[in-house]
Symmetry: C2
DNA sequence: ATGAAAGCGCTAACAC
DNA sequence: GTGTTAGCGCTTTCAT
């Protein structure tokens, strides 16, 4: 009663296994009456098709491998959620791996996934990854791969990313239009791409608007809550507060909130804070965080869609770079001066 | 250069494919020199073992299927994260599926996963699931399964759950010990297990402490932010505020925060709020939320550990029910009266 | 309409 | 130490 095979059904019915195989896949060869009989006994016997066997000779697994740096970060869990959604809808399995931001684990994950003969890969690079070797291998094996959020340039893989700099420029222009000129940037590490681009956007926009750049208002630290917290403390203790803080991400913004409140400052009355984030997290801030919305669901969906397209149409994507639109969402954490 | 097989290596070296197979698995049959030669050419040729083929004849996939209601809920994403961690460490793949709290999708997911011949299943039931049929099938096929957080009783599967009622009792006793007697409960739906148990704990504890139950302070609504928000508004408009609100989960607590602040009430000075949650989210509350800590990582880890044990030791778990300890964490959202 | 033969890539069992 | 045979469960020709 356990693990029935097609041949068991065939034996039961005194017919050939091939007939069973065909009937179960609704092949036109088989007569309706036969089909009915076979499907019925299959059900009765508790038959469950063995997909592994099917995969072996079709050389297709209908499986997508995801490599993500971290699932505790809600940005990534929203992305994965939307990927699973899209993949499931299109009859793909999702094998999920987490790199913990480690290059070595990431590499291992990818090797495991290609061993599993996934039909395609969705990967967001770890922060420390520099070696392209595994990816070259993936390319050689003709396995479709789409990078999301963090990507290697100049490889034949498509990339879905946010366009940080324009996002920063647009949002800062909006802030400046409200009459703000004293703006600080908590910019993470400018060594990383993300930190760099966002900071560049900051500097460019201020410059274009003829606002002098004050070095003491550009604070690097990191991308975590504590970094935002400490950056704000540093800023505050300098005795020279800006009107608004531009945070490189939501965790840094939250740290800034904490420090500001501890210092007895009201948001947005005494200090405005805004930064990169996404719609769903703004509610967790008090007051609601004004954000440059980088919608993770949109990113996950686009990446998965593109990948499945490449898999099914066998499009050799020329390695397109696709930008997901960012949107500036006014919430409560920066006071609007202009009505 | 694409998709090299063992037989290709064998041909290249003019030896048998079996020798290659053995050498690559470091089988003692093969001489060191031969092994070296084989491993080298395998590397040179870009050989990647086909796990699907291996799985087919070992009848083991080293794959675990997860069925989770929702990944946007950070409680679940932390759980999945820890499961992936543990599984990866023990050389298992994880296939992730999401049921979106729909029984039909859940059923489909499980059927897909057993078709994939996963070695075991980790499932958290959807809120609407009542039919045990698929699970009976899983049992018949002798596939190990561990329920987490939400489970069927009286099946031969192990369950990892939080013990809600004692958690509620313990925490409420702590609150009462501080001298509070005017306590309201935002209890979700008491139709669901979770809602019911937490509410029972509430009623029992108050009763044991000879605190009269006031019906208008037991507000049912739901488990989402908006429900907490509306419950609080209702409570407040009654003109009869308690000292403390006991929220059935973090989203409800957050809704209560919002409504309280909008009404100009200070937390914890004017109203205390606490509820079920976990450590990592407390920071997102301002002030920090006092919680009954239900640690998702602990739950995910235990579930995965138990499952892999059942898989590898072929222990037929008698269907144990394992409780994850809850811990009351004093934070800032309820004022402590006793020093 | 039904079935026999061959093969997907790998491994276990057994011989040489 | 190396190779031969057979088979994992299924599907795809190609006969009948």
């Amino acid at each position: 009663m356990v693990n029935i095979r097609q041949s068991d059904i065939a034996k039961e019915l005194n017919i050939s296994r091939v007939t069973v195989s065909k009937a179960l896949r609704d092949h036109p060869d088989i007569s309706q009456s036969m089909k009915k009989k076979i499907v019925e006994t299959a059900g009765k016997m508790g038959y469950v098709p063995n997909l592994i066997a099917r995969q072996l000779n079709s050389r297709r697994t209908f499986t997508i491998g995801i490599v993500v740096p971290d699932l505790e970060n809600s940005f990534f869990s929203y992305i994965v959620d939307s990927m699973v959604d899209y993949a499931t809808e299109h009859n793909y399995y999702v094998i999920l791996t987490v790199s913990r931001e480690k290059e070595s684990i990431e590499k291992q994950n990818i090797e495991n996934l290609i061993g599993m003969r996934v039909d395609g890969l969705l990967v967001c690079l770890s922060q420390e990854t520099t070696d392209r070797q595994v990816f070259t291998k993936v390319g050689k094996m003709n396995i479709p791969l789409v990078f999301f959020d963090r990507a290697f340039e100049n490889m034949k893989f498509s990339r879905i990313v946010f366009n940080d700099k324009p996002g920063a420029i647009n949002s800062l222009n909006r802030i400046i239009l409200e009459g703000y000129t004293k703006i600080a940037s908590f910019s993470g590490y400018s060594k990383t791409n993300i930190g760099k681009e966002r900071l560049e956007g900051f500097i460019d926009t201020l410059t274009k608007n003829k606002i002098p750049i004050r070095k003491e208002w550009i604070i690097e630290g990191g991308f975590e809550l504590k970094d935002g917290y400490e950056s704000f403390k540093k800023l505050n203790s300098s005795g020279n507060l800006p009107e608004v803080v531009f945070a490189v991400n939501d965790r840094v913004a939250l740290g800034a909130y904490k420090a500001a409140k501890e210092a007895g400052l009201r948001i947005p009355e005494d200090i405005g804070i805004f930064g990169y984030g996404f719609n769903e997290i703004t509610d967790f801030f008090d007051p609601q965080l004004t954000v440059i919305n980088q919608d993770p669901r949109k990113m996950g969906l686009e990446a998965c869609k593109l990948l499945i397209n490449e898999i099914e149409k066998e499009i050799k994507s020329g390695g397109n770079k696709i930008y997901i639109e960012e949107e500036f969402l006014w919430r409560k954490s920066v006071r609007r001066k202009v009505k």
